[in-house]
């Protein structure tokens, strides 16, 4: 597959010079300021802030626990007291949505951190050293990409059994190849730059060059991909739970709520509509933020994040 590889993204990172100064300069906050000047970025940031606050404060926002069942109000439609209605066990949908945000946030953060932690070093090493290590890494990535769609995640879950941890691992395995390719491509573009050569001339070791000179220059695309893949992860994890292979009860998860709700969709559509809208809103938040970040951090990139789709 090496003859002409498909271009997932074409990036020209802005050089930062040999100083190793972070190109983001979050301290002086031009990135943040420009982000807030962008309508999409602003909306995205607002949605995500709300999402995180709701997830963290869930116990204080709800009078009931998500385990509180009451069959007398089974599938009761939305009302003033319970604006989202009740599910098939008589649990308050609003409460479930709020608690479900915790599950989604946990999965998204854990999985993105894990994929970055695994994908960035692999891509860096491949792009930096080339040769055998690179060939080996890329061959493995090719094999992982040869398992299309969510199949790789499905197989991982088949191996590990369902549950929160294996769901996180499955989604991680599924997104690592994207990071490896992205980081490798960005590293390859940085390597011929003069400041790398200069660093070498001053006697800097390989690890030091990667850490201080290459990594800061490719942070932009990594952050953009991170934000966009938060959304993808939530979609994929939701799809797994929808298929009954993700988190198991009593853990509340939006995808799982849609899965059970759809059995009653004829009489109680509210049980399906609400969790779906919650997913759409949160994923939209991450996508808007990711887009705005890309415009700010990585303006020349020709993108397309989501080459792999959640769920199909």
């Amino acid at each position: 597959m090496s003859a002409s590889r498909r271009v997932i993204r074409v990036t020209q990172p802005t050089p930062v010079g040999a100083s190793g100064e972070s190109p983001l300069r979050l301290g002086r906050a031009p990135v943040l300021r420009r982000l807030l000047g962008d309508a999409g970025g602003l909306i995205g940031l607002a949605i995500i802030t709300l999402f995180v606050i709701v997830a963290v404060l869930a116990p204080f926002l709800t009078a009931e626990t998500p385990r509180q069942q009451d069959l007398s109000r089974r599938l009761a439609p939305p009302s003033w007291r319970a604006p989202l209605g009740f599910d098939e066990l008589g649990r308050n949908e609003g409460v479930l949505i709020i608690w479900g945000s915790r599950t989604s946030l946990t999965i998204a953060v854990a999985s993105v951190l894990a994929s970055v932690g695994a994908g960035v070093p692999l891509g860096l090493v491949g792009g930096f050293y080339r040769g055998v290590a690179d060939d080996l890494i890329m061959r493995i990535v090719d094999v992982m990409l040869a398992f299309p769609g969510v199949l790789l995640a499905l197989v991982v879950i088949a191996v590990l059994g369902s549950g929160l941890t294996s769901l996180i691992l499955a989604v991680t395995v599924y997104s690592v190849p994207t990071y490896v390719r992205l980081v490798r491509a960005a590293t390859l573009q940085i390597m011929p730059r003069q400041f790398i050569e200069a660093a070498r001339a001053t006697g800097a070791g390989s690890v030091r060059i990667m850490r201080l000179h290459v990594l800061p220059n490719i942070l932009g695309p990594i952050i953009v991909q991170g934000s966009l893949s938060m959304g993808t992860v939530i979609l994929t994890a939701g799809a797994m739970s929808f298929l009954g292979l993700g988190v198991q009860p009593p853990t509340v998860e939006w995808g799982a709520m849609i899965s059970t709700g759809r059995l009653y969709v004829r009489n109680a559509p509210h049980a399906v509509v609400a969790p779906g809208l919650a997913i759409v809103l949160v994923v939209l938040g991450f996508n808007l933020l990711g887009d705005a970040l890309r415009d700010t951090l990585d303006p020349t990139s020709r993108l397309v994040s989501a080459s792999r789709k959640a769920g199909g």
């Binding site: 061959r139 040869a146 769609g149 399906v272 779906g276 939209l284 020709r302 993108l303």
Partner: protein, 307 residues
């Protein structure tokens, strides 16, 4: 050119062999014993052991793998544990259904996404641009499993216009195609816009305009043609993944394709089905990539294929 294709086909082999190894190892090292799942509830431990031996699962793993490869090289994918049918006979009709759904979705995605992206780029910052870009970012945020259920609720349950499940008539194809193509429409629209914007700034577009060519010709023949490569790349990738079976879409609409079949096989630990299915996916995916790379040559005469 022929040399290039041949080289690419040969290079697929190591990847495919690795795929068989990985699939084999992952499946066989996984907890869950097919013999145990297959045996009737009242089977004794001896019965299960006999079944295990009959299926060849009692042998050491390397031997099992060699036996599997030996059969595979002779074109034999093995027999499903559950149905006893040959795996090839299990897979082919399902793959045909998946192919039908994936093709319909790709066609719809290109028909919707390409014009939306072109219009957005040509009239950048107009209301049309905003509508199509907001539409596509929302499209990228909607989970397919939810969209499918919603479409079914509206068009089958409420309006009663379309069947909610199954396959057969063209009517059965509509809702699954809409569900599956939403993501692709959005991706293609965004890619088209980005790529067109880049090309529209090029000198040769200015020259074409300066020559007094009609705007339509400038956009279609000069700009779009040059903008197509990244669009074809994305569309090809999407098609490859859709061939991998739209697990979720197929589950929602009870579409008898590969995705649902693979999930069922995973649950039943039906190793021959899974190995055959994974290999078929990998092959289809690799061939799609090759086709995409060949399209580059059609679109851009500067692309040279080196064998």
């Amino acid at each position: 050119m022929i040399r290039y294709v041949a080289t690419r086909l040969v290079w697929m082999l190591p990847t495919l062999v690795l795929v068989t190894v990985v699939a084999f190892l992952m499946l066989h090292l996984a907890p869950g014993d097919p013999a145990e799942l297959l045996a009737p509830a009242d089977a004794t431990a001896e019965d299960v052991q006999r079944l295990r031996e009959e299926l060849g699962l009692a042998d050491p793993l390397p031997l099992q793998y060699v036996r599997y490869m030996d059969r595979l090289l002779r074109g034999d994918l093995g027999y499903s544990y559950a149905s006893g049918q040959s795996v090839a006979r299990e897979l082919l009709p399902r793959f045909a259904f998946t192919l039908r759904l994936a093709t319909a979705s790709l066609v719809l995605a290109v028909l919707m996404g390409l014009p939306a992206g072109v219009v957005a780029a040509v009239r950048v910052r107009s209301w049309a641009d905003h509508v199509s870009m907001v539409g596509s970012v929302v499209g990228l945020s909607v989970p397919a499993f939810w969209l499918g259920v919603m479409l079914m609720l509206v068009f089958s349950v409420r309006l009663g216009w379309l069947p909610s499940a199954g396959a057969g008539t063209w009517k059965h194809l509509i809702l699954p195609t809409l569900t599956l193509s939403t993501w692709s429409i959005a991706i293609i629209a965004r890619m088209t816009r980005a790529s067109m914007l880049e090309v529209l700034g090029m000198d040769y577009v200015r020259v074409a305009r300066a020559k007094g060519l009609p705007e339509r010709t400038v956009i279609v023949r000069h700009a779009l043609r040059n903008a197509l490569i990244p669009i074809v790349t994305v569309a090809g990738l999407r098609f490859g993944y859709m061939l991998g079976g739209a697990v979720v879409t197929e589950t929602v609409f009870a579409w008898p394709g590969m995705g649902r079949f693979m999930v069922q096989s995973i649950q039943a630990r039906d190793f021959p089905n899974l190995q055959g299915g994974i290999l078929l996916f990998a092959l289809a995916f690799a061939l799609t990539n090759l086709l995409v790379d060949l399209c580059y040559g059609l679109l851009d005469p500067q692309v040279r294929y080196q064998g």
